[in-house]
Assembly symmetry: C2
Homo-oligomer: 265 residues x 2
Amino acid sequence: MATDRTHRPATSTRSRGIPEATVARLPVYLRALTALSERSVPTVSSEELASAAGVNSAKLRKDFSYLGSYGTRGVGYDVEYLVYQISRELGLTQDWPVVIVGIGNLGAALANYGGFASRGFRVAALIDADPAMAGRPVAGIPVQHTDALEKIISDNGVSIGVIATPAGSAQQVCDRLVQAGVTSILNFAPTVLSVPEGVDVRKVDLSIELQILAFHEQRKAGEDILPEGVIPDDETEPPVAPPADTVTKRPDPGSDGDRPAVMPA
Amino acid sequence: MATDRTHRPATSTRSRGIPEATVARLPVYLRALTALSERSVPTVSSEELASAAGVNSAKLRKDFSYLGSYGTRGVGYDVEYLVYQISRELGLTQDWPVVIVGIGNLGAALANYGGFASRGFRVAALIDADPAMAGRPVAGIPVQHTDALEKIISDNGVSIGVIATPAGSAQQVCDRLVQAGVTSILNFAPTVLSVPEGVDVRKVDLSIELQILAFHEQRKAGEDILPEGVIPDDETEPPVAPPADTVTKRPDPGSDGDRPAVMPA
DNA sequence: ATGCCTTTGTGAACGCGTGCACAAAGATGA
DNA sequence: TCATCTTTGTGCACGCGTTCACAAAGGCAT
Ligand SMILES: NC(=O)c1ccc[n+]([C@@H]2O[C@H](COP(=O)([O-])OP(=O)(O)OC[C@H]3O[C@@H](n4cnc5c(N)ncnc54)[C@H](O)[C@@H]3O)[C@@H](O)[C@H]2O)c1
Ligand SMILES: NC(=O)c1ccc[n+]([C@@H]2O[C@H](COP(=O)([O-])OP(=O)(O)OC[C@H]3O[C@@H](n4cnc5c(N)ncnc54)[C@H](O)[C@@H]3O)[C@@H](O)[C@H]2O)c1
């Protein structure tokens, strides 16, 4: 998963009784169900659907139980009916205008993404700070300048924004989006966005995903070489030099009023 | 979070003692630490770093405790040293050749992504099935035809592959990658990939992210209308038409194998 | 009707992840 | 050397999420 709910530990967790983990799986079920629907399959068992969605059947049944009892024992679930129920639960029965800010390589790719409009999401506008891009159509939609951001959000009643600007501009763009009324943000920039309570932020970070894969990859390689648990589990320091001379202990306990240590927020 | 570890419940979970949740946060810490390092900040307290990374300080300290005791009580953590330790733990001290398959809108954007090479990841090759793209340089790297996939993987010792092909081709491409020796896959196609044990798959799914945001967005809207907690916490059916007339309870307990209810998307 | 067979819905147990709160460690200054 | 102050490292408790296992429900055939 490239995303990761930013904050709201207790709040969103109990979102109306449906566990967050379940909410995250509903789209997956929906996709599988839609495929079945297109093949005119009338019903599916939890086992079959779970297999298609790549999850445990008990988990799937429990997930559905949060929505209500929509299955028929001995038979399974009605595909069409379930598609509707999940769509409704996810809020997909209504139209969600979305704005994409930062129409560079990624932003343009997102704008061209077909799966975007396929489920109730509509690209209401493409916004970029580069004056040279203003008016230029991308994916059939003319790019508008950042100056119009607030008006666009307001006029279209946009509540979901996608940030695809460089990291340095992300927080600033985020602030403007939130100020203008956006309450859900999908962030592709490699930055931790800080938003006021009530605003949801999900992030997609390619770099993080690769690093997580690298971690496991390294483990696999390590295990191949060291099938035995040679040194128990403590190769922590041996490899490199622990804090000693490098930069760590700068010899000067005195005043040093210049470099104000860290002092972040 | 747009990604989501596909399977391996017990296996990867206890990866060498470091919890999966911690592994997923290490890249975030690393990014914050790198920024501090560039500003020549020598040390940080867990509180400051946690704030920059957007997490709880206790969580951060516990995360670091899995790597060893690298902090100094009363002072904090040595930035440079921690950058090194985390990099090593994530396997970033080595070079990871990566191949991107499917050089369309998204694949091209990924190829152009600078943050790619910044941390030990190197785009070893760009692969596409379209003969017309063969040889065409994208981000300075010539696109190669799918026919050469196996040889490319093998020659470069690639163990990480990125799939950016249409959903329909994803599983097939995945199979070839795995067959050729890739053991970690980052999948951007909206499909559930099935892979043999030992292969890691992480997925990035824009559509799912938006749907999750829509769910919460819908809740927010609903709460605005119903400020009071009228019915305690069980508005499961009241809000919307429960199985009754709409399409819900198709009035006919008998057969009726035809057109079920609504079917939105 | 009745019994069999399939599949749901969920109680209960378990494990992971989170966050509090604090003892211990170590730096700093007298 | 000793007291004080800061910040780490972690024991502990709690809640969410996962999975097992099974009773109950319902379809279907006889
Ligand atoms: N390209 C990828 O595959 C990829 C992958 C992961 C993450 N990202 C991240 O996504 C973001 C965009 O990547 P990219 O490759 O498209 O970069 P890019 O440089 O091609 O595009 C960035 C665009 O944002 C615009 N922009 C800059 N500041 C702005 C502002 N304040 N308001 C509005 N628009 C502004 C620029 O004019 C430009 O068009 C970056 O943060 C990058 O790290 C990209
Ligand atoms: N564009 C986005 O923003 C975006 C967002 C989320 C998900 N996705 C997904 O990413 C994938 C790619 O999206 P896109 O917009 O770049 O599509 P695209 O059609 O622009 O590009 C797909 C590319 O894959 C190549 N391809 C097809 N079959 C192949 C095969 N068997 N082997 C190698 N290459 C093959 C095609 O030649 C084409 O160049 C799709 O699955 C899409 O659903 C895209």
